[in-house]
Every structure is written in structure tokens, then in C-alpha cells.
């Protein structure tokens, strides 16, 4: 007890200068590279223009960067202390969006803050990871391995996932479930429970199918057979594959992607920006982006492993997993491996909330790293 107190005192005493010095330079570099690629691609998407996307994206990234630095320099225990409150705020915001959507002008996913549109579902991705990390931090392995011990965290996942699903935003709902699932796995929930859950999911699939909106059903059907509707929903996947494939090994060159610039490729500045990148910079460029993303995740893992606190470890792994699902789902989607679910490629796709949420996540991961020697008690 005394020793840990000593350590925590010692760490608490870390000066700002020391904290800044211990920020992982490589990690920040990877993030800057990704953001730079993003701005470059948005410049190309606008046919070589800073407007309407590239400059805006740069400004948002600047804001996101500030958020990351502030979070990185924040004591890890603050995140733990406010994890549940943060979670409830996010949940209430989700409910507000849901209710106002019903009362107001149809489906709505965001709250207008004036300078930007805040998507509570993006907040929830961070909040859920922190809340689960705190919950499992305080649980014993016995509790985790018991059924009763995972009822509360399961509900913590269930409610926001349900709310997001009804927005409707299937992609984000799935991301919440997958990220939480990965955390459940990491903390040691027995595999057979996942088996039961998956079995239950398969059994309830026909029922869930009826709850899906028509356009979601169409997306799944079109994914299974893109030629079903070559001018409609299948058009996106077909044109994306053509753009990717025609890019070849070395690409068509910056600003020279024909599929993108002649508008055959839809949503080239948002969900399909990876396609555009692959068309212009070829497989070399695409693999480079994959590697940078992988390095970010790998570094996050190493930070997690170095952390002495369970909360820090789990939070970093959860946030890294969240980031991984963004990247994987987006890439797999534009490569025609999974249905089009509308998940952007973080830091590269155009979009403010995602930048903020991902950068906040990186900030927390950096904080885990900086505060790796702080041992946090069970309460």
C-alpha cells in the first residue's frame, strides 16, 4: 500500500514538462502522417482545391490535436473517476437525439453545437470503452467469469447499441458491439459465452432482419450480389472495385484518378476515400496506409502492456480496438469484403466528429502511456 502510494505521489508530482517529454514522438508522428495523407486526399477529391474539404479538415484536425494533447496530459485517474459520468452524459445525449428525432424532422444523428455537429454516438464509443474499463477494473476474475458479473456490463453495451441502431446507424451500433465484445474477450469472459451469444444472434437474425430498414436490407442483399442492382446500390461497390483495381501497383498519380475525378466513384471524400487513395497511389500507397494504421494499433498495445494499472491497460486496448474497427470495417467495405455500412476511415475521411473522437481516444492512450507507472487501486 505504502509503496503504491509512494509511486502515485511520485507520479502525481510529474511536472508538465516531464509529461510532455514522455509523449511518444513516433506515435504522434504516425497520427500526423495519417492526417497529412487525409488532407492531401481531400485536396485531390476537390480536384486540387483546398475548399471545400481540405482546409476545413486541417482546422478540425488542429482542434482534434489540441484535444489529444490535453487528454494526454490529463491524469489517467481522472478518466477513471469520471468514466461513468461521461458514459451517462453520452447516453442522455443519445436519448435526446432519439427523442428529438421522433418529435422533430425525422431521423437525426447529431446535436448542432453551432460550430460543429456533435454525434453522441461518437462520444459513446469512447465513453463505453472507459466505462467498461472502469467496471472490469473493479471486478474480480471470479466475477468476470460468472454470469451475474457480466450482466451489468452487457446492459451497458446493450442500451447505447440499441439507441444507435434505431437512429438508424447500423455501422456504429455494430462497432460498439464489436469493441465491447473484444473487451469482454480480453478481460477473460469464457469463450462458450460468446458461442451462446453468437448462436443466439444467428437464431434471432430472421427477427432482426425485419427490424432493419429497407435500405439496410438492400445493402446486405447488394453486398451478397453487387450485380443485383448495378445502377443503384451495387454501383458503389462495383465502381469502388474498378477504381481500386485500375490503380494497379503504382497508381494513376496524384490528382489523376479517373474514377474519382470523373465522379464514377461515389462518396470519394468520405467513406470511399481509401478507394481514391488506392486509385491514385496504387497498392504501394494503400499498403503504406495500412501499415501506419497497424503501427498506431501496435504502439497502443505496447503502451497498454507497459501500463501498470488494469484500467489503463484495458482502456488502451479498448480504444485501440475501437480504432481498429474503424479502419478495418472501412477498408473491408470499400474492398467489397463486407457490406457498405457507412463507416469512415479515421483521420483521412472528411468529418469533424470522427476526428475529435479518434483524437480524444489517442489522447487517452497517450495518457495511459505517460501515466504507465501509476497503480490504481480497485476503487
Amino acid at each position: 500500500m505504502y509503496k503504491s502510494y509512494e509511486t502515485s505521489i511520485k507520479n502525481q508530482a510529474m511536472t508538465l514538462r516531464e509529461k510532455i517529454a514522455s509523449i511518444s514522438f513516433s506515435y504522434v508522428m504516425f497520427i500526423l502522417i495519417l492526417a497529412g495523407i487525409g488532407v492531401t486526399m481531400l485536396y485531390s477529391a476537390a480536384n486540387g482545391s483546398w475548399s471545400p474539404w481540405a482546409l476545413n479538415q486541417l482546422l478540425r484536425f488542429g482542434l482534434g490535436f489540441a484535444v489529444m494533447v490535453v487528454f494526454a496530459l490529463t491524469d489517467i485517474r481522472v478518466f477513471m473517476r469520471y468514466a461513468y459520468i461521461f458514459y451517462f452524459i453520452a447516453l442522455v445525449l443519445l436519448i435526446i437525439v432519439e427523442v428529438s428525432g421522433h418529435i422533430g424532422m425525422g431521423a437525426q444523428r447529431w446535436i448542432n453545437l453551432g460550430f460543429m455537429k456533435l454525434q453522441p454516438s461518437e462520444l459513446m464509443k469512447i465513453a463505453l470503452v472507459l466505462a467498461l474499463a472502469r467496471y472490469f477494473h473493479s471486478s474480480s476474475l471470479q466475477a468476470i467469469e460468472s454470469i451475474r458479473g457480466i450482466i451489468i456490463p452487457t446492459l451497458m453495451v446493450f442500451f447505447p447499441a440499441l439507441l444507435v441502431m434505431t437512429q438508424p446507424d447500423l455501422g456504429t451500433a455494430l462497432m460498439l458491439v464489436f469493441t465491447a465484445g473484444a473487451m469482454f474477450f480480453a478481460v477473460g469472459v469464457q469463450l462458450w459465452k460468446f458461442g451462446v451469444l453468437i448462436l443466439g444472434a444467428i437464431v434471432s437474425m430472421p427477427i432482426a432482419w425485419h427490424f432493419l430498414h429497407d435500405y439496410q436490407q438492400n445493402r446486405v442483399l447488394t453486398f451478397l450480389n453487387p450485380e443485383r442492382d448495378p445502377l443503384g446500390a451495387g454501383y458503389h461497390i462495383i465502381q469502388s472495385k474498378i477504381a481500386l483495381g485500375s490503380g494497379g501497383m503504382f497508381g494513376k498519380g496524384f490528382l489523376k484518378g479517373t474514377q474519382s475525378h470523373l465522379n464514377f466513384l461515389p462518396e470519394k471524400h468520405t467513406d470511399f476515400i481509401f478507394t481514391m487513395l488506392s486509385e491514385e497511389f496504387g497498392m504501394i500507397g494503400a499498403v503504406f496506409v495500412v501499415i501506419i494504421n497497424f503501427l498506431i494499433i501496435a504502439y497502443s498495445y505496447s503502451f497498454a502492456l507497459k501500463s501498470t494499472s488494469y484500467f489503463g491497460k484495458l482502456a488502451a486496448i479498448g480504444l485501440a480496438t475501437n480504432f481498429f474497427f474503424y479502419v478495418f470495417i472501412n477498408m473491408a467495405m470499400v474492398l467489397g469484403l463486407i457490406p457498405v455500412v457507412g463507416i469512415p476511415l479515421p483521420l483521412i475521411s472528411y468529418g469533424g466528429t470522427v476526428i475529435l473522437s479518434v483524437m480524444a481516444g489517442f489522447g487517452i492512450i497517450l495518457s495511459v502511456h505517460i501515466n504507465r507507472n501509476i497503480n490504481i487501486g480497485k476503487d
Binding site: K241, L244, N263, F264, V290, F294, A298, Y310, K313, L337
Partner: protein
């Protein structure tokens, strides 16, 4: 504490598993990238180019058709059309209404425009009206401020300066139909027209030329971004025809309101100098497309303007056939120059009476006189002695009974009967009476006006088997045609008879003789009945032709050549229901006179 340790170990172990899974999932992404971008790159590059490159065919200008003197018979004329680009006008309907104030549009036209506008994207020009006159263009330009989105575009359309005068051999062009063989991508170009009849159809391949290529880069909405490559096409070949447009025009005009056909041949080269079938259609109208009503009117006209009578019309040659019968008889020895028959106006064979056209007969008459007066009795007797097979044999030597094959469509072969033909056709043996009426070119015998022209040319040139052609013969020399095995003395007798027909008093065409600086015409008239004259009518007096309805009047024929002593031009004229041979002889005379005049004026100055 132990449990806590375990809890931490589980987290690390499971996290590492998760990490490995993530790594593997990234490997899947990279594998997929490899599959699409390297393994299948060629396939997708092709697809991307198909997306991006729109290849348009450039229509080459169609070959010009000239007459023998370089006069244009079919050419391409600038066609100005008004187009509308929907995206350039704030209100399509308002612009259309403003346009209608300047130039009326029929309801059908307006409906089609609106359909086209709806069908095409807003930047695609849609045709509002074509074949604009200069005044109409001026009006549109003057009102341009009220006509946003209206542009004037220039294209080429086929133009036939002589209109219907050349219709039946030039033919016309029209849109590609489903039945046409699509052997050339040009045929898929909207609005492309191909030869549908006549020379336009015969020389379609040469006239069409070769399409050029325009490769354009287009965006996803079909808008043109830039030109990638342009390969000009090859214009169609020019075609030089044997036709003399001035003679053709004269020949056409000399028919007036009559329905019929006339062909003029160069007797040495076989070149077709004039080729007339009247009445005709306007090929300009057909090329631009006629309405259903106009088409109905053309096809229901009793004078059949759509039928090429020179080639598709089969008629009894009547007395114009007598030269063939006379030659067959002279060559076989059935008669000689001195042989005479006595014509009493009729002849009885079995229980049939055969009449000469002259009621009271010609008296004693030899072959030259028989031709001059067109005595029927002489040829009845000659045919009786000769038999049908000898007549048929000679007829075939002169090109009758088979197609001349000048390449135009719907040609008929005519019919030269013989005993074998009758047995096969009817299973009956040939009757002597049938030989008699064959002797005066009636009965089963059918010929086309073109065949009669060929026959006449072969007589005029002294027995060379000249073949007709529409192509200009550049050598100017007599071609190597086969010489018939006919004694020149017999040929001279026939020519003497034909000379007397026109130039000796009493000849059936004496009234239609011509004299151009001593150059005269020889010829032979023919009149064929299209109805049977009953015994009763003969007794009460045969009805005058003028009293009969047009459809029941006799056909009039004339074949001739000029100059009589050094033949150059042969003509065959048919006038449907033209009453009597002299109607045709008058036209034939006018045509040959014109030919002689033109010949004189085109001779180089010495």
C-alpha cells in the same frame, strides 16, 4: 492478490490473441488489395477505361455521284438544324413557345421534342427542327435573346439537285432499318442513312466511306471533359455515271404527264445515257422521310411512281419484236429479201381469224416493206414457217428474256417462250396459232424497256452483244463485245426496214422523223393491246382509243437509233396506255434529236 495477478495475466494473454487477430485481419486487407490491384488489375483497368472513354464514330461525307460530264447528281448539302440544350434555358416550355411563334411546330413534332428532352440528360442537344432555310436561321438569330438554349447546328444531308428526274436510277438514302445487315459500326450511329434503292444502294460500300473515331473522356454523367484522340474518317468514293444529265432531263420532260419509261444507250459502249421511268418520286423527300399519308399517296397512285418501269415493267414488245422475227427468218433461210407475202387484212388458221392492224391489207409485201408498214400478216406467215423455237433463239441473242443485270433492284427477266417452256409451264404442246401471235410480239412474250434498248443497240451497232452499264466508260473506245453470227447483209435489210419506218412516206413513224444536219433516226413503233377486242366489237367498229378509260388504252412502244448511217445512240420508249406507237415515236424522236444536238455541242473544237 493472486486472483488479481491472474486477472492481469488473462488480460495480457487475451489481448495478445486479439492483437494477433487484428494483425491477421490486416493481412486479409493487404491480400485483397493484391488481388484487386495486381492480380485483377488489367480487368479493372479495362473497365475503368470503358467508364471514362466514350468513343464516337465520325460519319464521313458520302461519296458524290456525278454524271458523265461531271454534273452532280447526288451530293451532300449543309443542313442547318435548330437544337435545344435543356440546361441552358431557365424554362424549356417558355423557350419552346417562343420558338413556335417564329416557326410553327406540329403537335407531333412538339411531342417528340419533349420525349427526347425527357430521355436525354439536360446537356444533350435535342433536335427541334432541321432543314432550316437561310431566312429561318436569320429569324432564329434575330430572336436569340428570347430563345435561350436554342443553338443552330450544321450537318450534312443528301441532296439530289435533279429531284425526281433521276429518281429511278439514283435511288435514295434512308435510315437504317432492322432488316439491314449491320456489317459496319457506322450503321449504329443515330440518324445515319444508307442507300435504299438505285445507284445509292448498288454502290453503297464505295459511297459510304469509312467512319472516323473520336475518343472523348466523359464523366459519370456523360458530360464530355476533353478530347483524347481524333481519327478522321475516309470520305466515300465519287461515282462517275454514264448518264448525261441534260439528256436525262430532256427525256424525262418529254413524257409530260404520260406514264412510261425510256432508256438511251451508247450502242458501242453500252453506257446508259438516260434512264427514265415516269412518273417518279422526289428522292429528296424520301431521303428526309415522308409521312405515312405521303407514302400512301405514292404507293396508291395508278401510275405507280414508285415502280421502276424501265426495269421492273414487263410488256409485250408488240411490233418492236418484228426485227427479231425477220432476222431469225432471214438467217434460217425461211425467207429471203425477195420473199413476198400477200396481205389481205386477215388470215385464217383452223377456225381462228388473225387480223392485220390494217383492215384492208397491205397487198404484196416483202420483208423491208413489212417492217416499214408493220404488216402483221407477213409476220404471221413468217412465224408460221419459222416456228417458235427459232424465234426464241434469236430473241435471246438480242438479250431478251433474261435480266440485263445492271445491278438495280427488282429487275424482271421478261419472258421468251418456246415449246419446251410451254410443256413445262402448262404441260401442253405448242400451238401454231401461238407462233403466229408471237411473230408480232404478242402472246406470252414479255420484255422490259431496258431489254428493248439493248436489243436496239445490238441491231444498231451491227450485231455486237453490247451490255448496258451505268459506269462511265473512260476509254471512249468500242469495247470488246462478242460479235453475233449474223450475216451483215441480213442486218442491213433490217436496218433498211427501220430506216423506212421513220424516213419513207407510209412508214409508221414517218410523222416523227428527225433531221439534224443530215443525221436521221431509224426505228420501229409498237402498239400493244391491253384488252381483247371481241368479234362483236370488230363488227360494230372498234372503239377509238380516246373513248376508252386510261387503264384500257393500248401501250405505245418505240425503239430507234441515230444517226441512221453511223449509229451512236439507241433508244427504247414505252408509254403506258399511250394509245398508239406514234406517241412513243414522238418521244423517242425528241430524245434522239437531243442526243444528236448534245453530241454536236460536246465535240471538241478542231
Amino acid at each position: 492478490m493472486n486472483r488479481d495477478n491472474d486477472k492481469g495475466k488473462v488480460l495480457i494473454k487475451r489481448s495478445l490473441v486479439l492483437g494477433v487477430v487484428k494483425f491477421l485481419m490486416f493481412i486479409v486487407i493487404i491480400a485483397r488489395l493484391y488481388y484487386l490491384q495486381v492480380y485483377q488489375a488489367d480487368k479493372y483497368k479495362t473497365l475503368a477505361d470503358e467508364n471514362r472513354i466514350s468513343t464516337r464514330l465520325l460519319v464521313p461525307p458520302r461519296g458524290v455521284i456525278y454524271d458523265r460530264h461531271g454534273e452532280m447528281l447526288a451530293t451532300n448539302r449543309q443542313n442547318f438544324q435548330a437544337l435545344m440544350v435543356a440546361e441552358q434555358t431557365p424554362n424549356v416550355q417558355e423557350t419552346l413557345d417562343a420558338f413556335k411563334k417564329i416557326m410553327p411546330l406540329s403537335e407531333a413534332e412538339e411531342e417528340k421534342i419533349k420525349k427526347d428532352l425527357k430521355k436525354n440528360r439536360s446537356f444533350v442537344p435535342v433536335r427541334i427542327k432541321d432543314n432550316l432555310s437561310w431566312e429561318e436561321i436569320a429569324k432564329i438569330q434575330l430572336n436569340a435573346p428570347d430563345l435561350p438554349g436554342i443553338i443552330i447546328d450544321e450537318g450534312l444531308t443528301r441532296f439530289y439537285p435533279f429531284g425526281e428526274k433521276m429518281a429511278h436510277f439514283i435511288g435514295y438514302v434512308s435510315s437504317v432499318s432492322d432488316n439491314d445487315v449491320k456489317d459496319d459500326p457506322l450503321l449504329e450511329v443515330p440518324g445515319f442513312k444508307i442507300g435504299k434503292a438505285g445507284i445509292e444502294k448498288l454502290y453503297e460500300k464505295q459511297l459510304r466511306g469509312k467512319g472516323g473515331n473520336l475518343k472523348l473522356e466523359v464523366n459519370a454523367y456523360g458530360r464530355i471533359m476533353k478530347e483524347i484522340e481524333k481519327v478522321e474518317g475516309i470520305p466515300g468514293d465519287r461515282i462517275d455515271l454514264s448518264i448525261d444529265s441534260r439528256l436525262q432531263a430532256k427525256a424525262y420532260d418529254s413524257f409530260g404527264e404520260e406514264s412510261g419509261a425510256a432508256i438511251v444507250l451508247d450502242v458501242n459502249t453500252g453506257e446508259i445515257l438516260a434512264f427514265v421511268s415516269t412518273p417518279a418520286y422526289d428522292p429528296n423527300a424520301l431521303s428526309q422521310g415522308v409521312s405515312t399519308e405521303e407514302w400512301k399517296e405514292l404507293s396508291s397512285n395508278e401510275k405507280n411512281p414508285l415502280v421502276n418501269k424501265a426495269l421492273s415493267g414487263q410488256y409485250s414488245p408488240g411490233s418492236t419484236f418484228k426485227m427479231v422475227v425477220a432476222l431469225a427468218a432471214l438467217e434460217s433461210g425461211a425467207i429471203t429479201a425477195q420473199s413476198r407475202s400477200f396481205c389481205a387484212g386477215k388470215m385464217i388458221l383452223g377456225n381462228h381469224t388473225f387480223h392485220c392492224w390494217k383492215n384492208f391489207g397491205h397487198g404484196y409485201i416483202d420483208v423491208v416493206q413489212a417492217l416499214q408498214h408493220s404488216c402483221d400478216i407477213f409476220f404471221y406467215e413468217t412465224a408460221q414457217k419459222l416456228g417458235i423455237n427459232k424465234i426464241a433463239e434469236m430473241a435471246r441473242v438480242f438479250g431478251l428474256g433474261k435480266k440485263v443485270n445492271i445491278g438495280l433492284e427488282n429487275e424482271k427477266a421478261g419472258l421468251i417462250p418456246d415449246t419446251e417452256w410451254k410443256r413445262q409451264r402448262f404441260g401442253e404442246s405448242w400451238q401454231t396459232g401461238e407462233s403466229l401471235i408471237s411473230g408480232i410480239g404478242q402472246g406470252y412474250i414479255l420484255t422490259t424497256p431496258v431489254q428493248l434498248a439493248v436489243m436496239t443497240a445490238r441491231i444498231a451497232n451491227g450485231g455486237y452483244e453490247v451490255e448496258p452499264t451505268f459506269r462511265k466508260v473512260t476509254t471512249g473506245a468500242r469495247l470488246n463485245f462478242k460479235k453475233m453470227n449474223i450475216a451483215p447483209v441480213n442486218m442491213e435489210l433490217i436496218k433498211q426496214g427501220m430506216y423506212d419506218v421513220v424516213n419513207t412516206p407510209g412508214g409508221t413513224a414517218f410523222g416523227n422523223r428527225i433531221d439534224f444536219n443530215g443525221q436521221k433516226m431509224s426505228g420501229k413503233t409498237g402498239t400493244t393491246q391491253v384488252r381483247r377486242i371481241s368479234m362483236k366489237e370488230r363488227q360494230t367498229g372498234v372503239l377509238k382509243q380516246e373513248d376508252l378509260p386510261w387503264k384500257l388504252r393500248n401501250h405505245a412502244l418505240f425503239v430507234g437509233y441515230a444517226p441512221h448511217d453511223n449509229p451512236r445512240y439507241a433508244v427504247a420508249v414505252l408509254v403506258e396506255h399511250g394509245r398508239g406507237g406514234s406517241t412513243a415515236a414522238r418521244i423517242g424522236g425528241q430524245i434522239l434529236l437531243e442526243a444528236l444536238k448534245l453530241d454536236a455541242s460536246s465535240q471538241p473544237l478542231e
